[in-house]
Amino acid sequence: MATVWYLVRRVAQAVLVIFLVTIVVFGLLHALPGGPARGILGAQATAQQIAAFNHEQGLDKPLVAQYFYYLRTLLHGDLGTSYTLNEPVSALIVQRLPRTLVLTVLSAVLGLLLAIPVGMWQAVRRNKPFDYAMTALSFVAYATPVYFFGLVLVLVFSQALRWFPSQAPQGDTLGQVLSDPAGLVLPVVAGAASMVAVFSRYMRAATLENLSEDYVRTARAGGAGQRAILLRHVFRNSLTPVVAMLGYYVPVLFGGALVVEQLFNYPGMGLLFWSAAQSSDYPVLLGCVLVISVATVVGTLLADIVQRIIDPRVVAGNS
């Protein structure tokens, strides 16, 4: 019952947060001087064309009226139409979101598959050459901008060795994207690098903490081997902070996706958001903010729930 009540409370909070985000973003966008018309239509647009654009988009109405109109259409599932891309925002999100999800999920999976064992093994080999080497590598990877690392991958593996294409899959559908695994290799590796660096550090710290816990000493005294201790006891308990961080990492993943999408010519959500910001495409910006807000809120919510599953000591909402 406590969990259900907790979930209801969290969902209500999430809706409120998203509502506030739309108000803030809507207000900030419309606070920009000049409005979007001249920017969208270009230097050669006439005053008549600008007036016609503002009228067509409802930009000549009072700001509050515009917001309530936006909210009303939003509740009807209509996110508006892009000023620049000639498509409904919902259609753009439906096209782009799965592409970004493929990229971010694969990067996250690859990153975690590497980070978790590396972090654990560093803890086991604390202050040994392997630990030092991995620590140094982590710092280098963490300090290297994704853009630079991606560029190096392109130079080496696409242009010099010609193993992989410099572009991510160009297909429109998810099936087309997944049918070109070679195209996914470099973007996924580029996206995973910083995750390995960050999460291996978390895993190392969590494992070290758990290795010094009483229950580990008790298990050892009871005759449990190192492997059993690591896999049966320490591994699960060490995952808790990693899972928590993963939820909060959702916006970072979207941010990273923007860079990777730019570099590997992969039109996903990150790039959609960036382009919309550059061109003052308000409907797309609001749509993207909405999606990222929902993803962040859902990510943190899921992280809390999974933490509770992993570690029953965690009381819902008080991890």
Binding site: L32, P33, G34, G35, P36, A37, R38, G39, I40, L41, G42, A43, Q44, A45, T46, A47, Q48, Q49, A52, F53, T81, Y83, T84, L85, N86, E87, A91, Q95, L151, V154, S158, Q159, W163, F164, P165, S166, Q167, P169, Q170, S179, D180, P181, A182, G183, L184, V185, Q226, R227, E261, Q262, L263, F264, N265, Y266, P267, L271, S275, A277, Q278, S280
Partner: protein
């Protein structure tokens, strides 16, 4: 189990996993995508960064009809008069036109057009009725039409009279310069398939709906609504009836467009390549990477990459700068409450212009991929429109002379910056409206996102400082720059901007005849800084109404001397990188691309 034994097994496991991963990756390699065509039947053309084609209808609103969308539409629906730079000079390309002759009346008040013996892709003849269809739609819906400018076509056309299937006459409201009329107005006309498109809804039958105002509005609305459905571009029968050399094979919402030849094309520019892939790129870096990996046949590089010319040559490419029919400038806001009175003084504008080292900028910043521009007519190509005054640069770079201009007019350098110390309207005073103590400090809102532009602004800041002019730089994305620097009156809050720069890729691309009615006429829609000069208005008007060949040169000379804006170097439209063997075309300085002219020569 000991940790040592576990370590051995772990190492084997890691090695095994690595081998599996490597195998998987290498297996993935076999599916590598996006390789260069390397085939006479295909070409990969790189679209500009961050541009996705999104409009096919050759009539539409300003939000849709940008250069690249127009180029794609132009390959499908040929213009009546293709007046462009595709033949190496800006002229009427009759091979790419549906009209074969334009005979102007002796009084310059009308023109009779003759159509070629041409057919739509469904076999129907292209007739005067198809031109009339376009005319009716544009006349009724002109306010939504991208190329409409008040007072210009169709406002200054009083009628279109069909003589027969291949001849018609357009009458004007007064006498016009035939060259201007042909190059800037008649070139807008695009014969449209009336026998397929003249209907008010998808389910309606084709009729003469365009002949009434209400009907023309409905047809316009129907066509523009249909054009919003990008996913149907390749499948809808609406887009299958074309007059140009190509038709759409596929049009992905993510941006890739594939063109395939119109097999019934009977014009002068038959397609040479069976598959034209127009590829979208998120950034210039992504495009350059694809170019280096050999996945693009006709692409581009940043001017800063020009030193890698040899590297591209070794990969089988040639670097070919693509000059634009454009000018680049920085508008003054003459209505700015603080600096407007200063900008209104010719000597002050001269001092600013003399502080701009255009040749130095071209060499150091643009790597030679720009042309100094000293007036309102493009100087990237030779033309008869440029006056001797403009060509000879009336205000050469000289910061000492610039400083003297200011000190001669009542300014004194204080802490490195000029301050007005002799206000008044005398010949040795600061000028009307300039108050005592006014500091010669100005700010530009400049386009962000380009290191070339950032460097150019810094160089200008440095040279202006030598004259004693403080120049602050604020940056924003180009759309924001355009939004924040509109025409305004001094009392408006938006009128705080002083200088604006949106010319990273050239500030203003002209139609074929480079008149400045929209830029420098007092009532010009894009006269952002509210420049006003009655004599210039007269000269601008003369360029469009008089057939005197000197009219353009007089206009060129007047504005080169009067400095309505700060003239700056004109960057090339694009530094193209073209696969060896791809030829048969000139890069159109009007910034359009013409796929039918491309061909593999080896």
């Amino acid at each position: 189990m000991s940790l040592g034994r576990m370590g051995v097994r772990r190492r084997w496991a890691v090695a095994g996993a690595a081998a599996v991963a490597a195998s998987a990756l290498l297996a993935g390699c076999t599916g590598a995508s996006g390789s260069s065509s390397a085939s006479a039947d295909e070409i990969n053309y790189a679209l500009p960064p961050n541009f996705t084609p999104n409009w096919l209808l050759p009539i539409g609103t300003a939000a849709h009809l940008n250069t690249n969308n127009s180029s794609i539409a132009g390959a499908m629906w040929e213009p009546l008069v293709a007046y462009d730079g595709s033949t190496g000079k800006v002229a009427w390309n009759k091979k790419g036109s549906i009209a074969t002759a334009a005979d102007f009346a002796a009084d310059g008040r009308s023109v009779q057009i003759t159509l070629g013996d041409r057919h739509w892709s469904d076999g129907t003849a292209i007739t005067s009725r198809d031109v009339q269809f376009w005319y009716n739609l544009i006349t009724v819906n002109k306010k939504q039409y991208a190329s409409y400018s008040p007072g210009k076509a169709p406002d200054n056309w009083t009628s279109l009279k069909v003589i027969d299937d291949r001849h018609f006459t357009i009458t004007f409201d007064q006498s016009y310069n035939p060259q201007w009329m042909l190059a800037d107005e008649l070139s807008l006309i695009r014969p449209l398939p009336q026998h397929k498109w003249d209907k008010t809804s998808a389910s309606a039958k084709v009729s003469d709906a365009d002949k009434t105002t209400a009907g023309a509005k409905k047809v316009w609305s129907y066509l523009n609504t249909a054009a919003k459905d990008i996913s149907k571009y390749a499948s809808s029968p609406l887009w299958k009836t074309v007059s140009g050399p190509y038709t759409v094979k596929s049009f992905a919402t993510s941006g890739k467009v594939v063109l395939t030849p119109n097999k019934k094309y009977d014009g002068g520019e038959k397609a040479n390549i069976a598959t034209v892939n127009l590829l979208p790129f998120t950034t210039a870096t992504a495009e350059t990477n694809a170019l280096r990996a050999g996945q693009v046949d006709y692409g581009y590089i940043d001017p800063s990459d020009l030193d890698q010319k040899e590297s591209f040559a070794s990969r089988g490419y040639s670097v070919k700068p693509w000059a634009g029919w454009a000018i680049t400038y920085m508008p003054y806001n003459f209505n700015n409450p603080t600096m407007g009175p200063v900008f209104r003084q010719l000597y002050a504008r001269q001092a600013i212009q003399r502080s701009i080292d255009q040749k130095g900028l071209v060499k150091a910043i643009f790597n030679g991929t720009a042309t100094p521009g000293y007036g309102p007519v493009p100087q990237g190509q030779k033309s008869d429109y440029v006056s001797a005054v403009q060509a000879s640069n009336p205000y050469p770079f000289d910061t000492a002379a610039a400083s003297k201009l200011l000190t001669d007019h009542g300014w004194t350098k204080q802490n490195g910056v000029m301050v007005c110390t002799r206000p008044g309207t005398g010949s040795n005073q600061c000028g009307a409206g300039v108050k005592r103590g006014t500091t010669f400090a100005m700010e530009v809102l400049s386009q962000s996102g380009s290191s070339v532009t950032d460097n150019e602004m810094s160089a200008i800041q440095s040279s202006l400082a030598k004259t004693g002019i403080k120049f602050s730089i604020r940056t924003a994305p180009v759309n924001s720059v355009l939004s924040q620097t509109p025409q305004c009156t001094a009392s408006q809050s938006i009128c705080k901007w002083q200088l604006s720069y949106f010319g990273t890729a050239g500030s203003w691309y002209f139609p074929a005849f480079p008149t400045g009615d929209r830029l420098f006429a007092s009532d010009g829609g894009s006269n952002f800084g509210n420049y006003h000069n009655a004599e210039v208005d007269r000269l601008v008007n003369k360029t469009t109404t008089s057939d005197d060949p000197k009219a353009m040169q007089e206009y060129s000379a007047a504005l080169a001397k009067d400095l309505p804006v700060i003239w700056l170097p004109e960057p090339d439209y694009q530094i193209s990188v073209v696969k060896d063997g791809l030829g048969g075309f000139s890069q159109d300085s009007l910034a359009n691309f013409h796929p039918a002219q491309w061909k593999w020569t080896k």
